[in-house]
């Protein structure tokens, strides 16, 4: 396994002159764009494909392969949509990149758009990210002035426009087809698939949607080659990755490491261990709240990569790692996770519209002392009723974590039921 020995995505994020294009240029910004524009777009796609880069938004789908879905021959305009809607609980890496190295992001967007012969880049940024939005807006203005955006970019013959678009508060708009609906000025309802975005996307035109981090790593792949990328991480799980560490940690934050790094290394080394050393680790949600929860025992030897976590019944997802110590009541934690899904369900299709709210209310009732053992069976059954029957996987994202809490911390649920209330006075470190 290849360890990461340098900062890649985070190499310039500690600077404080992000709106200074000259400073960024001095640090190498847009050099790779110049190189890429001299290459064949198909060759760029091949390189990214060869690198084995997997999407960093949550699904881990091979990026190069996704790019090949765009039609070769078409008279329709092709679009790249940047998914900057980062809303998965526990995730805060894209915000860091956009706020602290907007030019890197923009360079990644441009190279990728060129590779898929897109003529417009839509950046969909969540409404709450006002400062990152302003940073990107400024970066776009500067890039446009320099000729990196517009007609005949750097003499390549390629025309591209960038449209920066704000969301307004809806997690579901991070789902790529709901994002497109929102971009088109509608309620964020995921679309039926097929057709897939590459054949019918924004305004019905061929579209590829990629996460910010995914696109931000592309300049490095182009500059250093697919083999460099493959040398970091593991087989089929290559490259550097931003891990979002939060919860009961001494030093929560975004850390860059190779895919496959052991979870306990991230917790103990990068994050300095538990927030309160007197309280042991109890559970970790490893990949944003849509990932199944892992017990401390399961975390003891846990390589953080897509395939390992999937094999263990969870997922790397957005790499939003939420660390819980023994003060946490797992029923209450489950309730808090499900509250999120109850609030964020778009409501389009029956199982999720009703189910997301229903499972939240069952767990809430158990937490507050009104639950029975039959409720646990109902909960699992309702979750099964949601999974695999909906337009998008939001229902799965709510139901599978719920089932994991009940399966792995069943005793805590049973205690709540027999004691008719929450037996722990679980105190997450309070604000002072």
């Amino acid at each position: 396994m290849g360890a990461l020995t340098e900062k890649v995505l985070l190499r310039h994020t500690s600077h404080d002159d992000q709106t200074d294009l000259d400073a960024a240029l001095e640090r190498g910004a847009y050099q790779v764009l110049g190189k890429a524009l001299k290459m064949q777009p198909d060759a760029l796609v091949e390189e990214v494909k060869k690198s084995g880069l997997r999407g960093r938004g949550g699904a881990g789908f091979p990026t190069g392969l996704k790019w090949t879905f765009m039609p070769k021959e078409t008279s329709k305009p092709k679009y790249l949509v940047v998914n900057a809607d980062e809303s998965e609980p526990g995730t805060f890496k894209d915000r860091l990149l956009m706020e602290r190295d907007p030019h890197l992001c923009l360079e990644g967007f441009l190279i990728s758009a060129f590779a898929m012969k897109a003529s417009v880049i839509f950046i969909y940024i969540r409404g709450e990210f006002v400062h990152p939005w302003r940073m990107l807006d400024e970066a776009i203005t500067q890039a446009r002035a320099k000729g990196y955006i517009g007609k005949n970019v750097l003499g390549s013959g390629w025309d591209v426009d960038v449209i920066l678009h704000r969301g307004a508060g809806a997690y579901i708009c991070g789902e790529e087809t709901a994002l497109m609906e929102s971009l088109e000025g509608k309620r964020g309802y995921p679309r039926l698939k097929p057709p897939f975005p590459a054949s019918y996307g924004v305004y019905g035109n061929p579209t590829t949607i990629n996460n910010v981090e995914t696109l931000a790593i592309v300049p490095f792949i182009v500059e250093r080659g697919a083999d460099w990328f493959l040398g970091i991480g593991k087989e089929k799980n290559a490259g550097p990755k931003l891990f979002c560490m939060s919860g009961h940690l001494k030093r929560p934050g975004v850390y860059e490491a190779e895919l496959g790094i052991p979870l306990m290394t991230l917790i103990n080394d990068q994050c300095g261990g538990m927030l309160n050393p007197a309280r042991k680790l109890k559970a970790v949600i490893p990949g944003g709240s849509s990932a199944a929860v892992m017990t401390a025992a399961e975390c003891a030897d846990l390589p953080m990569d897509f395939d390992t976590l999937a094999a263990k019944g969870s997922m790397l997802g957005s790499a939003g790692v939420m660390v819980m110590d023994e003060s946490v009541c797992m029923v209450r934690a489950c309730e808090r996770v499900l509250k999120f899904y109850a609030h964020e369900s778009c409501g389009q299709c029956t199982p999720c519209r009703i189910g997301a709210d229903w499972i939240y209310r069952i767990v809430s009732r158990v937490e507050h002392g009104g639950g029975t053992t039959a409720d646990l069976d109902t909960l699992v059954s309702v979750c099964d009723g949601m999974v695999g029957k909906t337009i998008c996987v939001f229902a799965d994202a709510a139901a599978l974590p719920a089932k994991s809490f009940v399966a792995k911390f069943r005793n805590e649920f049973l205690d709540h039921i027999s004691m008719k209330g929450c037996p722990t006075k679980g105190i997450p470190a309070g604000a002072r």
Binding site: L192, G347, C349, T350, R353, I354, A356, I362, A374, I391
Partner: protein
């Protein structure tokens, strides 16, 4: 053949055109896959999830309404996997649903009732407090909304967006708190609002005019044709106790597809609500006298005979049936020779892009086929009325409840005493009061016969109810007059009249009532469509 595909559903092979969905293919086979949000006349939404089926090689159940049929597909619409999926969806749908069945109009034609009976778990495990909604909200002149009953299938929203293109409805908020409503201060007031009630699979949208009036299982549906304009939308009359309680559209892809307009939907109301002419009334000086039919007809026949050639004028409503017009044609040529016949124009507004025709006669085309085209511009009508007042016409027969002529009563006043007016119609009116003889005719729903719509399509109008008073059809009265003039004219039914007309009038190409069926017959006629 490259344009069709073969697939297997529940063990039977079926061949369908490319582009057909699995649900549509199942429909063709007569299978009844449950559905809420899918409607043939609207875009696919795929949100209710009840139409789940099991397709070989696909790991999850899929919605049949969104899945294109593919060559060699093997589909199962029943079985444990499918039933489990449907049970789950039904339980979700019923979770917050209020127990309104005893007071809900939809009972008896409610898909929640039907599918929970056929596919449900038979109970619910939902133990939480149900999310409440707005009950009985008037959102339009004809529509009442109950958001608690709503399952957010969005059929109504899509109807207003796609069919009427008026967009009055929207889905507000999100998640379990999603609900459908109008924009504050606006109403669901388009001319087709009643269709949202038809397509609502539950009792969330109800029609004010039908609300709480009758249980649907007490209604007998009579397939008929609407007479409110020249479109002739195919309808069902919901009848009980010799009354029509509602009209709903009946599918006819050539005429009205799945829809009808609100005016047509309520066009049965006059039959029961407008004051009816209930007996033959004769009037000379003083109050009207009830008369028996035979006596009244004898008297009328006498006046017609006395009038001489050209002395009889007839104003015939463009909503009379083909049978009425055929008999009138025979009457005017054989009995009252030289009778002047005018079919008044009856236009209001414009043709819209959906169904409504400006021509409010139900049978302008039929009249034209019988050689009595509508008097466009009204000149002949004017002339006849002038001549009636001037004494050039002795007997004026007014057939049908023609509102145009009703407005001319004052114009005819100077001729009082000299001009003999006979009104044959269903309703009391100033003209009925001024006429020397008023004979009751059946109102909508009480007669049967044929109307030809603006497309030249002959459609059958079926009798659904019988009035308590005697109200013979106009063709029957005309036949009686002919008999009194010594002409053989014996017909037992409108169908018999149509049979003769079909033989004798070339433009009808041998049409019979039987041939009309429930979807009508397009008559290849030039000029049939002109108002």
């Amino acid at each position: 053949m490259a344009d069709t595909i073969k697939l297997t559903i529940d063990g039977k092979e079926v061949e369908v055109p490319k582009g057909t969905t699995v649900l549509q293919a199942a429909d063709r086979m007569g299978l009844d896959v449950p559905r809420y949000c899918y409607h043939d006349g609207l875009t696919i939404a795929g949100n209710c999830r009840i139409c789940l089926v099991d397709i070989e090689k696909m790991p999850k159940l899929v919605t049949s309404c969104t899945t294109q049929a593919a060559e060699g597909m093997v589909v199962r619409t029943s079985g444990a996997k499918v039933e489990d999926g449907r049970k789950a969806v039904m339980e979700f749908l019923l979770a917050n649903h209020p127990l309104d069945c005893p007071i809900c109009d939809q009972a008896g034609e409610c898909r929640l009732q039907q599918y929970s009976f056929e596919h449900g778990r038979g109970g619910t495990r939902f133990a939480e407090e149900k999310i409440k909604g707005f009950k009985a909200q008037s959102i339009g002149p004809h529509i009442e909304l109950d958001t608690e009953r709503c399952i957010v299938c969005t059929r109504c929203v899509r109807f207003c967006d796609e069919v009427t293109k008026t967009g009055e409805l929207g889905v507000f908020q999100r998640g379990a708190y999603s609900y459908i409503d109008v924009f504050p201060g606006t109403e669901l007031g388009n001319a087709y609002s009643g269709n949202t009630v038809d397509i609502c699979p539950v009792g969330a949208l109800t029609l004010k005019e039908f609300r709480f009036r009758k249980r649907v299982w007490e209604l007998k549906d009579v397939p008929s044709t609407c007479g409110a304009c020249a479109r002739g939308c195919n309808v069902n009359l919901g009848t009980a106790d010799e009354q029509i309680w509602r009209m709903t559209p009946r599918q006819n892809m050539d005429v009205n597809k799945w829809w009808m307009c609100d005016e047509g939907r309520l066009s049965y109301q006059p039959t029961h609500e407008r004051p009816r002419l209930r007996e033959a009334l004769a009037r000379w000086d003083g109050p009207p006298m009830a008369m028996s039919y035979p006596k009244a007809l004898d008297f009328l026949a006498g006046r017609i005979a006395a009038a001489g050639p050209g002395g009889v004028g007839v104003i015939a409503s463009g909503s009379l049936t083909l049978e009425d017009f055929y008999m009138l044609r025979r009457f005017a040529s054989e009995a009252a020779k030289g009778a002047r016949v005018v079919v008044p124009e009856n236009r209001r507004g414009e043709d819209d892009a959906i169904l409504i025709r400006a021509d409010k006669n139900a049978n302008s085309a039929g009249a034209a086929l019988m050689g009595m085209p509508v008097d466009a511009g009204g000149h002949a009508h004017e002339a006849l009325l002038r001549d009636s007042v001037a004494g050039k016409v002795d007997v004026l027969l007014v057939l049908g409840d023609d509102l145009v002529s009703e407005g001319r009563v004052a114009q005819l006043a100077p001729a009082r005493g000299r001009l003999f007016i006979c009104k044959i119609g269903a309703f009391e009116s100033p003209l009925t009061a001024a006429a020397g003889l008023a004979l009751p005719a059946p109102a909508y729903g009480e007669f049967e016969g044929t109307w030809v719509n603006f497309q030249g399509r002959a459609q059958w109008v079926r009798r659904g109810i019988t009035p308590r008073h005697a109200a013979p059809e106009t063709w029957r009265l005309l036949a009686e007059l002919m008999v009194r003039a010594g002409i053989a004219a014996h017909f037992a039914s409108a169908a018999e009249v149509l049979s003769e007309a079909g033989q004798r009038v070339e433009a009808l190409h041998g049409l019979t009532a039987r041939a009309l069926g429930t979807q009508g017959v397009e008559l290849a006629t030039a000029g049939a469509g002109k108002p």
